[in-house]
């Protein structure tokens, strides 16, 4: 076991965990932040996506020992983020969600995309969102919501 000081959604959190523990389980089990979902556990589906140092990151394969000093932002922190808030509003207004399980990860990835590309094309959306899987098949609404958010963000 080792102790770590993590900055999560601008708040410092102390955690004692095995160095190999994935960040996902530190969030969900140690800190009881359940917005970030466990999907596949092998980085294949994107449900566990969080931002680490501004990079959309699969928390299920990131050992807590490799986080370092990089700030972590989770879906719980999106309402306090300008782009995150607009994306969430676009999600609601486009009624994107069906079962919702993957949508936290979808939003985290979409926010990173819009922070890097202000007006993404269909192809850019497909490539950047291509690692986020939705079993309900909400892809068309996700794409529309990203475009709507891009328009609102100007």
């Amino acid at each position: 076991m080792a102790s770590y000081v993590l900055t999560i959604n601008s708040r410092q959190r102390d955690v004692i965990a095995d160095p190999g523990t994935p960040l996902l389980w530190v969030l969900r089990e140690h800190l009881k932040m359940r917005g970030t979902k466990y999907g596949c556990g092998i980085a294949a589906c994107g449900a566990c996506t969080v931002h680490v140092g501004g990079v959309a990151t699969r928390s299920c394969v990131l050992p807590v020992s490799l986080v370092g000093a990089r700030p972590i932002v989770t879906i719980e922190g999106m309402a306090a983020d300008r782009v995150g808030r607009v994306v969430q509003e676009a999600w609601v207004s486009g009624d994107v969600v069906q079962c919702g399980y993957c949508q936290g990860g979808q939003i985290m990835t979409a926010v990173t995309l819009l922070k890097n590309v202000s007006k993404p094309t269909d192809s850019q959306i497909e490539q950047s969102m291509g690692g986020n899987i939705c079993r309900c098949g909400t892809y068309v609404r996700i794409r529309a919501a990203i475009k709507q958010a891009a328009q609102q963000l100007g």
Partner: protein, 198 residues
């Protein structure tokens, strides 16, 4: 013969001997260089290296060099695309508890440094050598530059310490140790980076 003529003959003989010795030395150095190159080639075409020296719009994975899972794409600079970059999963070091390999600056080699053809066949030794020594394709690296790349580039170093898979088994490593690889590169560079004829 006069004494002066004797000296001239002796000087000519010494000169010819030096030329012959140098020619032999140069030939054996080239032979050594080519032998060293073949050792290097065995490393460069190992899956740990060639999986990121692809001819494709995506990286490969595993010893069978399958297409990288999860719809990963090459993107600009071989870094993936915004919101889905290499660093979405690959960190600064191997994540052995989760089986994800990592090293600083994880990215695909440029397409100019592809060591396979579009049918996924490894390029022959001469073609890889020609590409590597072409400064218009290799980020303008001369022999010493290539040696430095092999000595210290984090992704080269990673290939020799590639960590463990998710099931805990170690990834396979190239047929030479890193020290042997650097030694072979040094011999090859000293020989003037010779390439085998195709």
């Amino acid at each position: 013969m006069t004494g002066r003529q004797n000296v001239a003959v002796l000087a000519a003989w010494i000169g010819m001997t030096v030329v012959v010795v140098r020619l032999v030395e140069a030939q054996s150095t080239r032979a050594d260089g080519l032998a060293a190159w073949e050792q290097m080639y065995s490393v460069l075409t190992h899956p740990r290296c060639v999986n990121c020296h692809t001819a494709t719009a995506y990286p490969q994975q595993g010893d069978d060099r399958h297409v990288h899972y999860f719809n990963v794409v090459r993107g600009r600079g071989g870094l993936g695309v915004p919101a889905f970059s290499c660093t979405t999963c690959h960190q600064q070091a191997n994540a052995d508890s989760t089986g994800v390999p990592g090293a600083a600056g994880w990215h695909l080699a440029p397409l100019s440094m592809q060591w396979q053809d579009l049918n996924d066949r490894i390029l022959p030794s001469s073609a890889v050598c020609t590409a590597i020594t072409d400064r218009s394709k290799n980020h303008n690296l001369d022999g010493p530059g290539l040696l430095r790349h092999h000595e210290g580039e984090p992704l080269v170093l990673w290939a020799f310490k590639p960590g463990r898979r998710a099931d805990g088994t170690p990834r396979s490593v190239p047929p030479l140790t890193h020290d042997e690889f650097v030694r072979a590169t040094r011999v090859w560079v000293k020989a003037g980076t010779p390439c085998p004829k195709s």
